[in-house]
Symmetry: C2
Subunit: 692 residues, 2 copies
Amino acid sequence: MNVRATAAVRYRWRWQFGVLVAFALCSAPTVAADVAVVESPEKVLRVTVSINGEGRVGYRVDRLGKPVIGESRLGFIFADAPKFERNFAMVDSTTRSADSTWEQPWGERRFVRDRHNELRVRLRESKAPYPAATAREFTVVFRVFDDGLGFRYEFPDQAALKQVNITDELTEFHLLDAQTAWWIPAGEWNRYEYLYNRTPATEVGQAHTPVTFRMTNGLHVAVHEAALVDYSAMWLRRVEGTRFKATLSPAATGPRVQRTAPFHTPWRSLQIAERAAGLYMSDLILNLNEPNALGDVSWVKPHKYVGIWWSLHLDTETWSSGPKHGATTANARRYIDFAAANGFRSVLIEGWNLGWEADWFANGESFDFTKAYPDFDLEAVAAYGRSKGVRLMGHHETSGFASHYESQLGAALDLSARLGIEAIKTGYVADAGGAKFLDPDGTMRFEWHDGQAMSRHHLKVVTEAARRRIAINPHEPIKDTGLRRTYPNWVAREGARGMEYNAWGSPPNPPEHEANLFFTRMLAGPMDFTPGVLSLVGRNGQKFQSTIAKQLAQYVVLYSPIQMAADLPENYARYPGPFQFIKDVPVDWQDTRVLDGEVGDFVTVARKDRASEDWYIGGVTDEVARSLEISLDFLSPGQRYRARIYRDGDGADWQTNPHAIIIETRMAKQGDRWRIPVAAGGGFAIRLEALQ
Amino acid sequence: MNVRATAAVRYRWRWQFGVLVAFALCSAPTVAADVAVVESPEKVLRVTVSINGEGRVGYRVDRLGKPVIGESRLGFIFADAPKFERNFAMVDSTTRSADSTWEQPWGERRFVRDRHNELRVRLRESKAPYPAATAREFTVVFRVFDDGLGFRYEFPDQAALKQVNITDELTEFHLLDAQTAWWIPAGEWNRYEYLYNRTPATEVGQAHTPVTFRMTNGLHVAVHEAALVDYSAMWLRRVEGTRFKATLSPAATGPRVQRTAPFHTPWRSLQIAERAAGLYMSDLILNLNEPNALGDVSWVKPHKYVGIWWSLHLDTETWSSGPKHGATTANARRYIDFAAANGFRSVLIEGWNLGWEADWFANGESFDFTKAYPDFDLEAVAAYGRSKGVRLMGHHETSGFASHYESQLGAALDLSARLGIEAIKTGYVADAGGAKFLDPDGTMRFEWHDGQAMSRHHLKVVTEAARRRIAINPHEPIKDTGLRRTYPNWVAREGARGMEYNAWGSPPNPPEHEANLFFTRMLAGPMDFTPGVLSLVGRNGQKFQSTIAKQLAQYVVLYSPIQMAADLPENYARYPGPFQFIKDVPVDWQDTRVLDGEVGDFVTVARKDRASEDWYIGGVTDEVARSLEISLDFLSPGQRYRARIYRDGDGADWQTNPHAIIIETRMAKQGDRWRIPVAAGGGFAIRLEALQ
């Protein structure tokens, strides 16, 4: 028969669901009965929990009276116990309202309001899974904000289910009317470094979160998770039509998650906004995380850094020892001088330690995290830095051999602390087939980068570092789920295609890359993108798909409390004008306002310096030249500002004329409306200096 | 940016692939070099194996010079060893031609020709995964026929990889130009009983095989596997665009597959045909299986049976004891009399044994496979049957509690053999969350119905039964991969939506169901669909979406060596005319010819009785009334046939007039062309009796 496919799929799913019910009961399908409802504080969102005739628990979400998430089931499959799917009844439900404001030690904004209504629904099996057994319980908790919601499962302490071995979650997200999706595939590679797919929602396969959807009515929905602790990352897999389900990152051996009750899962989150800008403005992910667990974190220093890095990706210098070795004492001193002269707080030096000779992409057991190469006098370099007020940024590439790293972690961190290192960039290139754990019995486990084992490893590194007052910045990491709130020394991470792809990536990052990242990866948290390569040329002369002005815009658009000036010192010397913005731009903010944007097309964002009354604005476009309008409504009334504007020059174009830039000064006040022309692959950056 | 989605995805995948290469080598992407080629005997198909610059092994398939399967990688991820993905070089390659014909003990055709060319490519790591380790090897073997191909991996005995713990396969199928797909979801439920989705290929999620595709040029491709032994079933998951990858059914604990080298995987199969009919005509799956391992199997008797079954699904009788218990001595005698009077060889009696009182859908430990209910005198019923020349068909519902069944298997089979039972229908309803295995340490494992554990279980039951000369017919089974060739007592199985869905399914099987099954599920092998419910009414008066003539067509269209006459004796008494065809139609065939058909729309198939010169023709349509043309070119020249035609009557329609049927006789000879009108939801059946 010929039927319109999408319609057919939806249609058939309904059939299917009916069938499951029917088969389970050997009776006609049964309808779901609503058992609990909770609305957001301003009644924008409404979550309804239902239980159908076979005892299957589900939820749905309406926004302003219109359904957004259709009936979606909740549940689990276990490795050694009957599944949580049917035969559940509600024991009780409770609601709670919360409205508080908390302060971030650093971030996109200083104060965050946490206003939500909470619904807790306790569920118990209506009959025991076995004649002999006792009925089991679980609780599902919803926290509903006006701009999104989170829900998690809580496993209480109960005799019938002590050790919880989870094969997979049955959690569903039926994204009614989802039209377009921006996503990267999950389950293919031990890394997140993909170009973003933009496809019809019905063409999503299995995706890492955040996944961003645009609905047919223009509504935007981002699916992610919050507070991923001692659990496997949630992937989003499309079942049929626009019905998605959570599936957990696998474990090398055993169930995907092994926990002992009582415990709870991470929050499954849905950010819901009329416009794309609203997704980024939401503080949902941070609000769903636990408060700061580290106490005084004044030792976490947002700052800008430089380092021996770009030359390694250009292959003009090497990580490993030899004639091209980058991490030499002399070279390090040169970078320290450059940092001191230009106000950068730290210097990253990759390839300083022993172990880069082997095929390090796949190995890692040869890495030594306390021993430097002979041509690199670690102590002397650190001392020289201190004499200039410049710290080293530590670097620990593990190649994903997590247990090897853990075996040296204490000594490596102690050494770092003694040298005055405030932050360490870690690396988990794991091309052998996963992150590695050498078990006591001598067997090697190859784990996914985002499975339960790695969620434990990363948190172990972060907490061990916190004890030494050191911040951590992992590359090839586990995804960000807002844990920076609880552990503010987890300052940034990579977890997407960064600048290095412009050096050797095939292709380099496309013009739309920043506009994709902003509305997907950046919804999760800070990214150490390592921006600001003004030379715009990669290995073998590979051309960037960016103008020079866009390189400056990255500092405002792609938030991180630690930002690199990634280019070579000699290249910054060639572009003193644009380099001035990199020296001026702060990395810690009082406030953030997304002015405008469309996923994958363009974005304009304004951020207010945390240390002054100055504002900074950044804008990026894709391969389309545009005239971006910005309204300066956010400026303080009566305050005058001197604007330093860095924008694409006349005839600028990433392909033919990437270095054309106009740097101009004009005055600004609240209410001004400007149109900033941006070139194909271009962008702009503005400093608004509040005048006395 | 706005781009056509599919184009974007393809485009980006190419980008992506480039990136992986680039990242691995830190150099520009490398092109793949062809290292081996093999063509099918008539040069219809051509398989090329390539290795790219990073040592990644791939294959592609051309048909008549046009690419069908684009560059697709091969490889594995292991739980405790570096993956097989990159750094491989070819050691050597060998080719072999084979052309033989073998005889089936029973089947769709008596003689099967196995004509193919084989390519073996031995691959070794170009560098050891660790400095210390030794380079590992594997071999990929392709068998290329003119109508399809299979390939499998062989793991040789080698010191560096003895115990092979497979996390997943990296095997890809890049189905260039795949347009439409017919599929059911995998990973959602411990069963195959779904309605078939017909969607654009780019909207497939994760599917069970066989999955059937139609390409933009009209070519048909079915992806499946052959000889699934001691391994996890292959699911097909779409990655991006029309690029699919194998993913293995999970294990409750541990890696998805655990094997000790030397061993080989099942064959990954691609059936490729111009027209849909060609897919069904292919013997690829059987040819990729090993020859009969049981020796003399004359004791496997293709036959028709009746039984106490439909009444249970109507809920007029019950499996469990009590006032409505169906399996009583008296009722059994009534069915035996009916079978004897109408020439049915066996009688299925469900609910004869103890254990149906508990919530058997989720349990199973209460089942006893040797003890009958008090109101059912097993010995007396069996003896009565023997006195009438009628056997019992055994019935063992396990609820998926596999280890519980195995603990009683020997005794249950011995009892069956003693009672003269020739075939046993087993059942694996596993609604607790999977097939269950109680380990010696007291822990229960919940396994997928098609994981390695269940592939072992099913084969154990089949081989144990063979020792007692008993045939096995599992319901809620593992999928068919052609093992009936090696174990001819594995006569049939369910593994799709059968007749019972017309009793209580919501909805009942749709008009297109048979036309979907024929080109998807039936490509795998025989199905015990339990056809022939002439009353056309389910529970609570639920209306079938079928005419009475189509019920007859099922016997020819949906092949099985054991076919049930599923309706109640009293209903057959109401329709003596149509019932005559059910009595006449054979279940074992000399030859099979698919005359015409389109996936999900309609099919006409002719089969020649193995015991005579008679032919039988069946045809089914979907919800569209059609005039189906059949060409009797396959009849023997000079031979005259008396055709008994059972077709939809004037005004027949599944909704308004399902019982309208015309039964007519006419003469037939080779070359005749007939047009048979079929109603919406209708079909036809023809017996062509060769005259002396």
